[in-house]
Symmetry: C2
């Protein structure tokens, strides 16, 4: 049978497939940092060459930022557009890494073999599962069972500034029957999942200014306002005692769970004690009266992602600083509008700023939440294909993260997007010592081979 | 007359005296940063050599930290022990300096000629006013009019860890009739002042930890606690709505002003609008119901001097960090006990720490407030000498800063300390573009020559 030979080829290819992934991981394609522009370009070139070697008509497409990679294979039947991103997160704090983040290595751990390095899981390892599945199909049969196109982005970790313009300019080329996105995880690290609900995101960066220069805290302390103190009070005031966010109208467009989804999620029996325990925590710290799964999948959040001000070096400096800064992000759900939330945030800061203080909002960027309709038959075909590969049957689930591309496929191109990924909760994406389990890489590749076969039926 | 010739010599020496100060300012003696250990040593050597050239028996004294400089001149009559410090504050943020901070330069400004560079005012320029006064006396008369000893420290800006042990071990050598300290300012930049009231200080540094590693704010946001948010709430809670500090028992040992001091300070007619206006502020931001002069001279404070956590680089990283950090300092008054305040601070943090969070208190250091008794006749003699030099008569005033050495002279050696300095409010000490007015340097030197003459009477 056609599929069995492909799966056998994937098993046979595993060592070389791993080498190819290690090769890609060695390229430090950090998109947010201008120092790595050439590396991002190099990662795009690497992918174009690799896709050409499998017979794709692949090319690098310039943008005002990092390039896109587009590739098309000959084929008939259902047309899928696969999306992944080749850029990675910054690596600080570097001293918490056990290996240099761009010198990836295989490591035998208690839980099995892992591939360790920045991007191993998010998203180079994940996108290569699809590429390796295509390679095996082509090696065994000379072609793919359906029509496949590939679209790789290089700015996912830095807000995707070029994405929407590129999609609008290349709408025809990017349109297929369905989009496939590999940037999510297994449910609880064991259950294969199709993610049908994603949170949106709004990022904010702002600076408070008080005096015209740094002051001596002895000469001025007690008389002049302190911007770190003001910033702390503003941040503290963003949540009330029950964990709810205080911005005016923030919950206006936040829906309650439908009975159907609530029942689905109850069946998933999320083990929050183990989810938290893996990272040294024990107590759900979110909104009163919400289940842990609601907290991460269906409730909006406001997180402070970075703060700095005053003297932060060794020793002590009794400075009363002129400025203080913060980066924060809102995860959005339901119909929350990023522009409306941004306006409410600015209004909150301005309304609570003491006399003599000014604020600069230096950057903000937003994307709405996504909710997939699973009525398209590709969803159920794919869920069954996943059930064949893994010990437990496939499930429909939510994801607390934000993958704006899913919404863009729908809004700009009118396509459904199906999110299937093989990351595990302990992959430490965005953190030191990121890894991807060899099991995720191997069974992920086999899963895509099965999904391609299923979509050909 | 004896004094007139000395004053004329000071006028004649001004260009060479300025060159000597510029020479000393070129040594980057930042005591808090281990990278500058050799430079601190070099600054001590420079002072030893300069004092020897005026006939002092001067030597560098090792400590576990930066060395002390001790010097004694032959003489009779009143014995004064002059104190200053040769170390300086760090220079960040470097991009706000108009010149490299250790390439000092003369600059002609709207308000007259200034000497610009780190340490120009705090405290190299100030301590050299005394050295230059001694030089002129020796050049004119071959000796000083009273017995003079000098004691320079190199750790004043980094908490003076070696000071108390050194004073205890060298108590006999350090004891004189009165200590002179030149590390304060003119009142409102115009009135020569003897500072008789100083705030004490307690510095604290601490780190909060939540999860065992940095988390992805999409995967965990809303469920896992955020240490920056917790830190902000703790900082915000240190003050209530009226600007009072909330630590238990914090105000127990804070006295109200005596009627005598209240009346003295009212006579000073402090122009807080101009004091704040010079640094771009307009509104006193301290405790409700207190005068601006109380806020900076006689009320305790709690200032956040530095804060950091999460991603602070360019671009954005949706991290939910594992740690957040702060440095803060309390200015103390009256009989407030630094150890007691430290205990109340630790208790406050521990009592308000959410589940799953831990705290490390990594450093704290304290010194009590000082109040000088002006009954020793040297005070009034010196105030009159200052009145002769400056357009307005000398005044007794307070100082919001902390100069622990004044308390140590009293507690360890039983000596009164007289604080006379010539800094101006706009000197930008501890800030970018620190400067010392040429008027401060020149008339400061002449002031000390007059004080030495007055104490010989």
């Amino acid at each position: 049978m056609t599929l069995d030979a492909v799966l056998a080829k994937i098993d046979e290819n595993l060592p070389q497939a791993t080498d190819r992934l290690l090769d890609l991981l060695r390229i430090p394609s950090i998109s947010t940092d201008p120092a790595f522009v050439a590396d991002c370009d190099r990662a795009a070139d690497w992918l174009v060459e690799d896709l050409k070697s499998i017979g794709f008509d692949a090319s690098k497409r310039p943008t005002p930022g990092h390039p896109m990679v587009m590739a098309h294979a000959q084929g008939t039947g259902t047309h899928v557009m696969f999306y992944g991103h080749y850029d990675v997160q910054p690596v600080d704090p570097l001293d918490l890494w056990d290996i240099p983040p761009f010198e990836p290595a295989l490591e035998n751990t208690d839980k099995g073999m892992v591939i360790r390095g920045r991007g191993a899981s998010d998203d180079k390892g994940q996108l290569m599962t699809f590429v390796e599945a295509c390679r095996a199909w082509v090696q065994v049969h000379g072609s793919l069972p359906i029509k496949v196109s590939i679209f790789f982005e290089g700015e996912e970790e830095s807000g995707s500034p070029s994405l929407v313009p590129f999609m609008e300019e290349n709408a025809q080329e990017l349109t297929a029957d369905v989009a496939l996105i590999c940037d999510t995880g297994l449910f609880q690290s064991t259950v294969p999942a199709i993610t049908t609900q994603l949170r949106g995101m709004l990022t904010e960066e702002f600076s408070l200014r008080g005096a015209s220069r740094d002051l001596h805290s002895g000469m001025y302390g007690g008389l002049a306002g302190n911007p770190i103190h003001v910033l702390s009070s503003l941040i503290a005031g963003l949540h009330d005692d029950t964990g709810r966010i205080t911005l005016a109208g923030f919950y206006d467009d936040v829906p309650e769970l439908s009975d159907e989804i609530r029942s689905q999620w109850q069946n998933l029996a999320f083990d929050h004690a183990s989810f938290l325990g893996d990272v040294g925590l024990s107590v759900p710290a979110g909104e009163d009266g919400r289940t842990p799964l609601e907290m991460i999948w269906s409730r909006p959040t406001c997180e402070i992602n970075g703060i700095w001000g005053g003297y932060t070096g060794d020793g002590f400096k009794t400075v009363l600083p002129a400025e203080a800064h913060a980066k924060l992000s809102f995860r959005l759900v339901g119909q929350q509008d990023p522009d409306k939330i941004h306006a409410a945030f600015e209004a909150y800061i301005n309304a609570n700023l003491p006399d003599d203080f000014s604020v600069d909002f230096t950057a903000h960027r937003g994307a709405s939440a996504s909710q997939m309709a699973t009525t398209n038959p590709v969803f159920e075909k794919s869920r069954l294909a996943l059930s064949d590969e893994w010990p437990q049957p496939g499930a429909y689930g939510g994801c607390g993260g934000s993958i704006p591309i899913a919404g863009f496929f729908k809004e700009i191109l009118g396509m459904d997007a199906m999110l299937i990924g093989f990351g595990k909760d302990d992959d430490a994406i965005h953190s030191p010592n990121e890894k991807y389990d060899m099991e995720s890489f191997h069974k992920g590749t086999r899963s895509w081979a099965r999904v391609l076969a299923a979509l050909a039926q």
